[in-house]
């Protein structure tokens, strides 16, 4: 058993590898602090297609293809594609999977999808059911705004807790620990464990305050991870959350402090990292594509080049729908954590 009874954390004895990744982002994301690191910055966020939804799907498909092309592989070479997104019935991932023609496990974890896919892929790879898998997630500012909030044409003003959904897609190639990969993009990165999320709900009902909705889930998963593994936050070079934003990160520190953990010094948030203050995104970025693209463009390269030794990658998702919000339901959230390490050679 790779997990203790009653705990949410698990270890991955075979240490599945992360050998490649790719990230596509929109123009605004390309103008941010990490702009130079993404593989492709779109000039036109419709990609010349008829709708933003089609563009989002194409972006995800392209990120998957590119992550494989870097290894001289194609979608025909993969055992499984784990993917998801924010849209109803995960159409971005579903239509991408149609084009990729790969065996497909559709995931829904809202903005936690990238970590959910990574830990699911890692467990299945460790169990001997996949040699080469791809995990992918996407979001698109324009498709999300009309899905979850208001039509863009209304020009609605952002409240002080708002975050901007990232137009972006990230794809990560996970192989078995002993898989031989010619010319891997990353030679040194392994997955050694993770912590599965549990749904939390502190009663937030404001769909423009996702940071507050998601912070309790992040705190729950991070604290469970540290306690179950007997670790201190400084064990990690960085604990990197998905898209809590500025306000949600502050709440995370308070919630962790209440449980006896000071994580601020080692914490980063992809939503805070992807935009600068000058870009006026209020509290930062959000969306499945936020941490998926930052993972690919920043976190994995930093692990590969030795700037990070170990990262706890904690993607957080808000499990609401436009309908549940209209029906007055609160916004539950979930956070999944994946442990990414430089391999000890």
């Amino acid at each position: 058993m790779n997990k203790k009874k009653g705990e949410r954390s698990f270890v991955l004895p075979s240490q599945p590898r992360i050998v490649s990744s790719a990230a596509f982002v929109g123009r605004k994301e390309g103008e941010g602090p990490l702009g130079g690191s993404f593989d492709t910055v779109l000039k036109d966020d419709t990609l010349g297609l008829d709708s933003w939804e089609q563009a989002e799907s194409r972006m995800l498909e392209s990120a998957v293809r590119l992550s494989l092309a870097k290894l001289d592989k194609t979608p025909d070479d993969i055992d499984l594609f784990f993917g998801g997104d924010l849209l109803s019935q995960i159409i971005s991932a579903g239509f991408a999977a149609r084009e990729l023609r790969a065996p497909f496990i559709g995931m829904y974890g809202a903005c936690s999808t990238m970590a959910e896919s990574l830990i699911t892929a890692a467990m299945i790879t460790d169990g001997g059911f996949s040699r080469v898998a791809v995990c992918g997630a996407s979001s698109h500012f324009s498709s999300s705004e009309r899905e979850f909030r208001y039509p863009l044409e209304m020009g609605t003003q952002s409240p002080p807790t708002a975050q901007r959904t990232v137009t972006g897609a990230g794809a990560v190639v996970v192989t078995a620990g002993d898989e031989t990969v010619k010319k891997p993009v990353y030679s040194n990165i392994v997955m050694t464990g993770g912590t599965v999320g549990r749904v939390c709900d502190y009663g937030i009902t404001d769909a423009s305050n996702m940071g507050a909705a998601m912070a309790p889930a992040a705190a729950s998963t991070i604290c469970a991870h540290l306690e179950e593994n007997g670790l201190v936050p400084e064990y990690y070079s960085r604990i990197i959350t998905g898209d809590l934003g500025i306000f949600g990160s502050e709440l995370l520190y308070e919630l962790c402090r209440a449980k006896g953990w000071e994580i601020e010094r080692v914490h980063d948030d992809c939503g805070v990292m992807i935009f600068s203050k000058e870009q006026k995104t209020v509290c930062g970025g959000s969306g499945c594509g936020c941490c998926a693209s930052v993972l690919s463009a920043h976190i994995l390269p930093e692990l590969e080049n030795g700037n990070y030794e170990r990262v706890l990658f904690v993607a957080t998702g808000a499990l609401l729908s436009p309908l549940s919000s209209l029906q007055g339901e609160s916004i539950p959230s979930i956070a999944h954590a994946a442990v990414l390490e430089r391999r000890s050679v």
Copy 2:
């Protein structure tokens, strides 16, 4: 490796067990041919709650609790809950997971969700990451109609290819092959393998003709399963699809015949089984809850009591959204297969 390179089928060396299940259905399903087999037939399909969506979530939550209660277990005893449904952002499963407080892996495979969850849970269990897991899926006629088609108040007439979304939820408890379970509901049922689905699209655009949209995916997965494993259809007591309905089943036979397989004699479809012709559901039932509840109330008991030796359980999902349909997209589909067997003692 539990799977050959380039193939979609896998084996489960540790043979995870199915030890319990539970099914909740609506009144109309309770009046159908399997009516006496479900654990609970709802008298009021709102369960006294404010919306059909809340009722669907409560039904799924209740099915999970009951499947565990039959083993004298509670949601606190489980390692993982795999769940999904048809609604945007899988709110039925998300809100159920909030109440259950169990570690949650959200899945989206439309009506294929039950098989998708089962095979994912089985692989993760086989890999040593879960001792006791629950897989659950739900659908609700009234929440689905307004999500995917028309408001019920319009009284729209059903076209000749229509199916009726089942109001129902099913939950299945999957344990490690060597887990000791006191008083299991099923003592003899194991999962020995499966086949992961690939997205197919034959260009169907009619959201009232799901059988036609899903038949190619079912044919693809069933034929791949037989070919990759060197089996004939008669190896199985029954090959049971999720919700192709009467029309979709006919198409399945034709598509399989074109690939050299005659499956009609051993084939059943949960959508056909759950309603009688007199109930006027046109082509039968559909929805995640259709095969989830039939699995629990009919297929598993038939395996346990020896009427079936081996079943290939093939749930099919149509990967559309209301938005993608309005945008003129066709309806891609996917089918996942799980091999359920009586344990050879």
